[in-house]
Symmetry: C2
Subunit: 128 residues, 2 copies
């Protein structure tokens, strides 16, 4: 992981949605690339903020405030959004896939506080 | 800084090269956007790895190994490169400007160990 990483060509190596791969590491953080399709699962990360940078397509990040009220943030190609720690969120790609870069601490678990079929423990993520 | 950030439109607000602005904060790290033109100054960051993601143009990152031998890594649009802590480096944009995103700890000083006309203390960076 010490060379130049091309986002689009590396994303081509990711076979399925919601299985991000590690493509960089710095300062205790991972850079990951992933694909979104349809709806993910509601979850939050207790101690970690999470950055989504969209490489291709459009990601709709559903959010719940402390009272449980929902809102949606739409993040397009070349845009990023940071989900603050503790905030319930559910990423959704509506029209085909959205391809994204994640920047988050190495300890971050993909489904946060929730156990789900999508759960991959941080130590089990593939490196590309 | 709690909304969606569009990389290209936010870069339009940065008036001059080598004066990055803070556009996001997460987990003790800053996301910055900046412009490169011509040659920067040789420097290193003792304790901090630094990620350059190129939004537009091409950035040539000159590197020195421990023996002082030089090499150059060319990072194009949609690509990133991580300069490991301690490594002497000098970013250069040859043909016009290169626009980039930086991920690095909040403590990172732009010219690292070197005092230079380009030096901006971390607390003096502008937020967009």
């Amino acid at each position: 992981m010490s060379g130049v990483v091309n986002l689009r060509t590396t994303l081509e190596q990711i076979p399925e949605p919601w299985v991000p791969a590690i493509v960089g590491e710095l300062n205790g953080q991972y850079v990951k690339l992933g694909k979104a399709r349809d709806s993910y699962v509601w979850h939050h990360h207790e101690l970690e903020d999470e950055l989504f940078l969209i490489v291709q397509g459009e990601l709709h990040i559903h959010l719940k405030d402390e009272a449980g009220a929902e809102s949606v943030v739409t993040v397009g190609e070349g845009e990023f959004y940071i989900v603050p720690r503790g905030v319930e969120h559910k990423p959704v790609a509506r029209d085909g896939e959205a391809h994204f870069l994640l920047f988050e601490p190495k300890s971050t678990r993909n489904t946060g506080n929730v156990d789900h079929a999508y759960t991959i423990e941080p130590g089990d993520l593939e490196c590309l």
